[in-house]
Amino acid sequence: MSAESPPEPDLEDLDSRLKQARDNIRGPFEKKEGNEPLRSAVGLAFRVTVELVSALAVGLGIGWVLDEWLGTRPWLMILFILLGGAAGMLNVYRLAMSSGGSRGNGDTGKDQGNR
């Protein structure tokens, strides 16, 4: 009993010291990230919608221009609308998954939830 009791406070001490050290390493930005009032679900919803719409709009625009240029009236536009929708979903996927792996093209999670 008496032999077992010393390690426990030791471990707890180590734990708290580790936590403190980690907090120090993370620095000011990480602390600012915990600034919860700045995040809002409405803001995130708005961001998701904007990402979707803009990707779709870009796809539509590219398809339109290519169609005017090549004279293949509706077909390329239809193709690029589908591709634009896929790109929008990719953007949103990266936005949602940004807390996990953060491959660049979309946005990493640092600003997630700000309008």
């Binding site: 998701v48 979707l52 779709l56 929708g85 929008g88 979903m89 936005l95 949602a96 998954m97």
Partner: protein, 74 residues
Amino acid sequence: METEAAKMLGAGLAAIGVIGAGIGIGTIFASFIQAVGRNPAAAGAVTQMTWIGFALVEAIALYALVIAFMILFL
């Protein structure tokens, strides 16, 4: 004149597709609220999946909208 009327009718009909997306978004967020209510600890993981599902549904609504606009203005 007749084609104008037909265009507007067609655009209106194309926009009906948004109904499905409305039902879908309602279902997604209802399930989201239920899930978080039952297990608040899982909120983070559930939120991610919710937004992906939201994006999928919203994209379909946008397709309908794009078709409506194309009929109207092209």
